[in-house]
Symmetry: D2
Subunit: 280 residues, 4 copies
């Protein structure tokens, strides 16, 4: 396969941006394979993701030329780390973890899982089958701050691009979230903004809804209110008891998280305030 260059740009919107960008790319002998752009008119923002065939002779010159032609303060990323480094945080449920570890093992993730951190020991044996280190950091008998420091030190050590809360059932402090800004992804077991917080399936059952769902989103300091990446729902009926809802929900959760991970590792997700722009 021919080599490709990925260019991600985010800037104020102006007339002629596509022409200017494509001219710079042409001058650098890069041929556009796909270009997907989005203009947020209300906020006058421009987003573009360009895949070019070829690689620039001097990536820094490409960066300079793009920056020169774009509005002040443009964000220009050329070939952001091609293989993302991922650390998973888990509690006791295995379904999302197993799904990701299998993909990682067979190398269909286009990323590398470096480690799994669990606040219970129970998923250690399974994780280690795949030659991935499992770190047990208990939340018990210590302060939240100490608990988070334990995790935070590991994350710093692994220098992860994305920290995936693969059914990690502890709420993280603003300090922690701030330290790993825009890197922490959660899978919430409801179609947000419905059923925020604990026990969404029980909430769903009490409300008598006819759908269940899951949401993958960036973690911010507002519980379950960060930018949404992927959501999916499934029809249910009155006959689903809580166990059946949970069981059916797990299938959605792992599909949603796995799809979000694919989008993230392929650099298809851009943040736009509390929303995401996703170039599928």
């Amino acid at each position: 396969m021919q080599q490709q260059t990925l260019v991600l740009i985010q800037c104020a919107d102006e007339v002629g941006l596509v022409a200017r960008i494509s001219n710079v790319l042409a001058q650098q002998k890069l041929n556009i394979v796909t270009m997907r752009e989005y203009v947020d008119e209300a906020n006058n923002k421009f987003f573009v993701r360009v895949v070019c065939s070829g690689i620039p002779e001097h990536a820094d010159i490409l960066q300079q030329e793009l920056t020169k032609t774009l509005p002040y303060n443009a964000s220009v990323k050329i070939n952001p780390a091609n293989r993302k480094k991922i650390v998973l945080l888990v509690t006791k449920e295995h379904h999302c973890l197993a799904d990701i570890l299998v993909r990682n093992y067979f190398d269909t993730l286009h990323a590398d899982v470096l480690a799994v951190i669990g606040n219970y020991e129970s998923l250690g044996t399974f994780t280690e089958k795949f030659e991935i280190p499992f770190h047990y950091v208990s939340h018990e008998e210590k302060s939240k701050s100490d608990f988070e420091h334990g995790i935070s030190d590991l994350l710093t050590h692994y220098d992860a691009d994305f920290i995936i809360l693969a059914k990690f059932m502890r709420i993280l402090s603003p300090e922690f979230v701030g330290k790993f800004k825009d890197k922490v992804i959660n899978i919430h077991h409801s179609f947000l903004p419905a059923f925020i917080g604990a026990n969404p399936y029980r909430q769903a059952q009490n409300r008598g809804v006819k759908i269940i769902g899951a949401t993958a989103h960036f973690v911010t300091n507002d519980l379950d209110e960060g930018p949404i990446i992927v959501q999916r729902t499934k029809s249910i009926h009155h006959g689903y008891d809580l166990t059946e809802m949970v069981t059916a929900g797990k299938e959605i959760e792992k599909a949603v998280l796995s799809h979000a991970l694919k989008l993230l590792t392929e650099d298809r997700v851009m943040l736009n305030g509390n929303k995401t722009v996703i170039f599928e």
Copy 2:
């Protein structure tokens, strides 16, 4: 087609109910075609919908025999009004109204639309194309109570089985809802319980969700919190502006309302507190 008898039973759960019911039916020479039952274990309630081939010689004897064999206070309905009478309430949006009027015109609704009541005049001409009376009851320059009396008198006149709020954009008072208990159905343009109240698509856009949806539900005195009949969602992406969300949403709204109507007119919906039991 052979004649059929429909039996709907709701009662306290007990051992042997299916045997007892099916024995009574057999004694009355009714052969079970389909029997769908549901036990709400938490609340010890039993629900069953039986379709039999044949008709009972004496419907009142069947009713007596079933009541005799069932727990105290059982609700037994035999062949509830086969063709439901429906009145539609509308404001300005046409999509749900048109969908139902077309089905009514070609007689695929298994029910009869008797009239349409609008708080604007704008849908009158369209309605009357289908030889359905359109009553214009304005909410302007009168009290809520007067407005609702105007509607209520018409509904009483038509003796409707179901009052369908086909994008009727006024909130109804507890008095009104109480008067037509378990008969008023609304279509809400979000996947409840998300985005209750006004402008759900704007709420959805502000939140940056990746799905939109619609919910058909019984109207109670808690806004958008009545028993849910049908819900459906559709995937959207960042590129949907408000107009596109509304346009896409209308397709879901009319599909959801039309499906709910089918379930209601075929006597497939039973109320169970604030939830529904639906035998599709």
Copy 3:
């Protein structure tokens, strides 16, 4: 709303096309709002759909400049007829017809239905409610050629951009299809290529499939084998008898046809051999 210019280009693929096209647009003071492109690598073909804000001072100069900068034999369309003219062909089933006529009546189609042609009279009264002329052209007691001439004369008279077979149950001759090349759209009541030809629901029932579906496609001389525009399926189960399959299927058919019509009237569909390129 600001005026926009739509540019559709189809040509051999070459290095630098996006840059060249966007330069021409910039010179003509057109700002790119959205640009969607596709490269068919196997066949070395390039397709692009560009929406610009602004209108060119001289559309013919824009056309010339684009043609000059593009490979030999490029197809360049600027603002193709903004409102398409549509004629519907029907037999006896009303669901697709009614769906389109309602959209046309409330002007949400972004196109104009000029007439309906039926080979039975039965849908005439309904059509005329919407002030649309209905032409009854019977296929009985005449040759296929005479029958098709009757239709063909009407279509020529109306100069339709698209001829929609909205459940028109006669197979059209190669002469007819050739005369209205790339303009005739059919809705087939199966998920093609499964269940080609007559009675797809019966075929589906005999096979015991767990899904039904519908396909909107261009009509060519190979029965049900033309380029596919939209397909959708729905889950069914063993309990669906033929009538229930047909009833459920109609909901899919009209949704699929209506979605295809939206894509066509918004100039989002380009032909690529026996396939379509669709810029949603």
Copy 4:
């Protein structure tokens, strides 16, 4: 959880079957929890799946009483092997295998995977991580008959209830299929009956379909024509190349196969000629 009795009956249809069956169950002190029945009117067949709370004092008396009350030649199964024994056959693709092995490992399958048989060695290491024996039976340099005998001997040894072709890419002979009648399940990577046989994704791409799908079905001697258990589709667009279709397809394949497996292991699937009756 209280003990339950599962009763599966298949017989000629007659008046009063539900009453007779429920009477026998009541006499045996079994309370019906759920009863799902289906009448195939065209073929005069009756199918029922009853879950009762309680266990019969004498299962053989229950069996006798049911047989006595039912038409001649009725099939009556009481508590069929509660945990099914499963053997998987694989070639090189891991996605279905991994999905099932993970479920087996965490015991969410309600069945036991006894062994995996591969005609390549490549999935052995992975399989053995889960302490499941992997048997390598090459098809190379031997006759089809010898190859199948190798597999057949292993299957006989394991006495499997179901033999799951989890992307096993060899066509099995009528002798083999006959030997394991109604026990061999395949996952085919298309929405059957479309794209039977080899390379369905390539066929799909050539046809330009807008959906892909997968089908889990019983294997018979007509290639890809056995009774269908589960089918699902997913929308695609012109931009999917073959690799992307295959990748997206794998997600559907494993979801479909896993759902079929759940239905089979919970005794929810009954055969009805070349179709299935499925009580979800």
